[in-house]
């Protein structure tokens, strides 16, 4: 009896197993996600031949990449189901019989995740990256859809917003493989200081690097728990400081284009200064923990009044909302924008953005290139730009002198913390194709912090430097850029700054030598050759 029931048990289990395997396999065969990857024909090249979708048909799915910055406020809707996604679906998706699907990608791992998605043939139809060499690599390997013909056919509004100049940044190997977002503001990084701390200690606003150092020392002495210079301590945000130590009269345009920052005359002094700040406890001892990872530690410290001065993305404290949070926590807090990093000529050089922002690309495997361009074109209409950047009039913004101003309420705070991840054709708020002053005013959209925004853009763009542009692709850079970037922005940056002062010279020399050895030299030589080929 017992034996028999055991046999039944085994048999039932076996049958369930077989049935579930068969069900699982057949389910996969019908899965629409896998089918486009197998049938990639040349039809992408000729959009005109494609039959127009009848409105009665089942909607097509358009997959769009979306950055997840892990910063949704407590009261905010999830980023894949909020005002913006609904607005896109209702005003673009439904009329065109398109179902929009948002595919989130962690902001700090965007390139890694994109590589995986592309390699697995599962990338969304619309993807983007800030990394030029990644785009060049995809172009070289033949992984992207050429968008030129689609833009000509469907991109009338898009062309108005992104003029020829901006679009030209998306041309690789003479073809428009990418649509490049327009950067409204060219300033990269701005530095702020706590004015109320200065007042408390009766100190002047620092105007030179030396004065800045003295101020930090005084902050540290008066507030031992605080981090005197505690913004985002990384390679990118230290650029103004680094550039100010360079000996500009010894740097030619060719050097500026071809040389890695590490071999620029004077660069070592910049790191010696940072090393000094670290060893005297004036910058965050924990800064290595945040590099390359999604920690919002700086914002937390800032909000808790633990930061004396800091360098951030221009206007970031306003558009990410943490300046407002600081003001709520500490009514006495007062912030001044400063620009103390002066070079030997008395200028404050710092890198500026070129007019191009993020690269928007369509994988070769996608069959929705037409819809992607239509979507971007729809987004470029002035009324949609306003909605995609500001939300709803009366709820989250109002017009003041014809410019949208964000309202100071919870609805706005809970919605607008990542509007720029939806309105991908623009980096920065945008109201006019003709008058950039209006655009600056639009970026000062929060009336309370208008002065902060304007000062932030002013100090962040003063004496800005743009590296020269060479059109030929740099083959060695396509191969090595990520490795070198990681080496430089993570390993070297941390190792050199945290070195013991007496070992600083040795560590710096050894690291730079290593950098040149693992590819820095190769890239530099090729860049020099390509530069000379273009300009001589």
């Amino acid at each position: 009896m017992r034996k028999k029931s055991q046999k039944w048990l085994v048999m039932t289990a076996a049958i369930i197993l077989v049935v579930s395997i068969i069900a699982g396999c057949s389910g996969k065969a019908n899965d629409p996600v896998n089918s486009p990857s197998t049938s990639n024909t040349g039809s992408n090249e000729k959009p005109a031949d494609k039959p127009k979708d009848e409105p009665k048909k089942d909607p097509v799915t358009l997959k769009i990449e979306l950055f997840d910055r892990n910063n949704t406020p407590a009261g905010g809707d999830p980023i894949t189901n909020n005002f913006f996604t609904k607005y896109v679906q209702e005003n673009f998706g439904d009329p065109n019989n398109i179902k929009i699907e948002w595919v989130t990608v962690p902001r700090s791992e965007e390139v890694d995740k994109l590589n995986v998605l592309m390699a697995a043939n599962q990338a969304p139809d619309l993807v983007f990256t800030y990394d030029t060499s990644t785009v060049e690599r995809y172009v070289r390997d033949g992984g992207l859809t050429e968008l030129g013909p689609y833009i000509d056919q469907f991109g009338e509004n898009l062309k108005k917003v992104l003029n020829e100049d901006v679009l030209s940044y998306g041309v690789f190997q003479d073809k428009q493989y990418s649509i490049v977002a327009k950067r409204v503001i060219s300033a990269q990084v701005s530095t702020f200081i706590r004015q109320d701390w200065l007042d408390e200690l009766s100190l002047p606003v620092p105007t030179t690097t030396d004065e800045f150092y003295d101020t930090l020392v005084a902050f540290k002495k008066a507030k031992p728990k605080a981090i005197a210079y505690g913004g985002q301590t990384d390679f990118f945000h230290m650029s103004a400081l680094r550039y100010s130590f360079w000996e500009w009269d010894k740097i030619s345009d060719e050097d500026l284009f071809a040389n890695p920052d590490w071999v620029m005359p004077g660069n070592k002094n910049a790191f010696q200064f940072l090393n000094k700040l670290y060893n005297e406890g004036l910058i965050d001892k924990d800064f290595p923990l945040g590099i390359g990872k999604d920690t919002n530690q700086f914002q937390k410290n800032m909000v808790n009044s633990l930061i004396g001065a800091g360098s951030t993305n221009t206007n970031e404290p306003v558009y990410m909302g943490y300046l407002a949070e600081l003001m709520t926590n500490d009514a006495n807090a007062k912030i001044t924008l400063i620009d103390p990093f002066k070079d030997s000529r008395g200028k404050t050089p710092k890198p500026s953005y070129t007019p191009n922002g993020i690269y928007i690309i369509v994988p070769k495997t996608s069959q929705r290139a037409e819809e992607v361009v239509k979507y971007l074109d729809w987004m470029s209409k002035p009324e949609n730009i306003v909605r995609m950047q500001n939300g709803t009039e009366g709820e989250t913004f109002e017009y003041v002198d014809g410019i949208p101003k964000t309202l100071d309420n919870d609805a706005a705070k809970n919605l607008l913390f990542n509007y720029f991840d939806y309105c991908i054709i623009l980096n920065g708020k945008y109201v006019s194709n003709d008058d950039n002053l209006l655009n600056i005013a639009a970026n000062a959209s929060d009336p309370i912090y208008k002065d902060f925004t304007i000062a932030s853009i002013d100090t962040g763009s003063k004496d800005g430097v743009v590296k020269p542009r060479v059109l030929a692709p740099i083959e060695s850079e396509i191969k090595l850029a990520t490795t070198l970037k990681k080496k430089s922005e993570e390993d070297m940056f941390v190792k050199i700054i945290t070195a013991k002062p007496e070992k600083f010279d040795a560590v710096y020399e050894a690291e730079v030598k290593d950098y040149m050895k693992i590819g820095g030299q190769e890239v530099m030589d090729e860049k020099k050759a390509k530069y000379q080929a273009q300009y001589k």
Partner: protein, 315 residues
């Protein structure tokens, strides 16, 4: 005799032909199908991917249409200092884990075995192996929250007592200790399970005989318990040695940071950097293949030693 009832079904199975056995027990063969499909799809089919190591792999062309490049990738990886460093770190971290970490579960098991209060023993055991179920992602986050130099709770506590902060995560030596400690905390309790199981197999009469001879607890541990679990210890030790070249990805990646990369970059994280972040799949595959070969050598030699020492191999 007890043997008689067992012999009947035994002879029956032997006498029938293999085909008949198969049909008699077809349900069991179907049940083993799922694990077999798993191993074939996830363990054997991906092995074909190693050809990528010998090709200039282009993700958009696919494996078959990419160009053959012979051993170029291997020549390149052996010129990379970072690769050599990753191998060194893998071995050093694994060796430390083994030397320091291996005895901990044994000691814990011995201690637990001596506990006579049942409820205490059970709850202690549960508490000890609970961390095993916490993922490294979570432990990595906890480590930062607790151990960061400025904002970590432990250092804030130390400061409030008037001590200097300890750079648990940013100084190389301290980081290695943090890395090891986190590993022990997570795995030691789990490791005791095997030993506790082995302990139950020891003949109780031996202890009673020792009691009669007036042996102390320590004596009994030394002369009965330890020899009793010796085969388990040896097998586990050999298995661990066999895994010297392999290292998990999560633990060094999540606990590590750029400040300690000199000691925290191991083969698995390096493959991630080169393969996924830089999209140099050929190089990453070559590194993976090389690691697999080293691992195989270690495993075969561990098996060889095991046959000499224990009279039985690993498989």
């Amino acid at each position: 005799m007890q043997l008689t009832p067992n012999t009947k079904p035994l002879t029956k199975t032997i006498s029938s032909s293999p085909v008949k056995t198969f049909f008699n027990n077809w349900q069991l063969y179907i049940l083993i199908l799922l694990p077999m499909i798993y191993f074939i799809t996830f363990k054997y089919v991906p092995m074909l991917g190693v050809v990528v190591a010998f090709k200039d792999y282009n993700v958009f062309k696919g494996i078959f249409d990419s160009q053959w490049i012979g051993f170029d990738a291997f020549r390149e990886i052996f010129r990379m200092d970072a690769f050599i460093k990753a191998i060194r770190n893998t071995f050093v971290l694994n060796l430390l884990d083994l030397v320091v970490g291996f005895p901990i579960p044994i000691i814990l098991a011995l201690l637990l075995n001596e506990v006579r209060v049942k409820w205490f023993k059970r709850s202690a055991q549960t508490l000890l192996y609970l961390p095993h179920f916490i993922s490294w992602v979570f432990i990595g986050g906890m480590a930062t929250q607790l151990l960061a130099t400025n904002s970590g709770s432990v250092n804030i506590f130390l400061n409030s007592l008037g001590f200097e902060s300890i750079p648990f995560l940013s100084d190389k030596t301290h980081w290695v200790m943090t890395y090891l400690a986190a590993g022990f905390w997570r795995e030691a309790g789990w490791g005791t399970i095997l030993y506790l199981a082995a302990l139950t197999g020891i003949n109780k009469e031996l202890y009673e005989a020792a009691d009669v001879d007036g042996a102390t607890r320590l004596r009994k541990m030394w002369h009965i318990t330890l020899p009793g679990i010796k085969p388990t210890i040896v097998i586990l030790l050999i298995l661990n040695v066999g895994h010297m070249a392999a290292i998990g990805f999560d633990r060094p990646f999540l606990l590590g940071n750029p400040g300690v990369r000199d000691v925290s970059e191991v083969i698995s994280t390096y493959v991630y950097t080169v393969g996924i972040q830089s999209a140099r799949y050929t190089i990453a595959t070559a590194i993976g293949l090389f690691q697999a070969i080293i691992g195989l050598i270690f495993l075969l030699s561990a098996d060889f030693i095991s046959r000499k020492v224990n009279d039985q191999g690993i498989w």
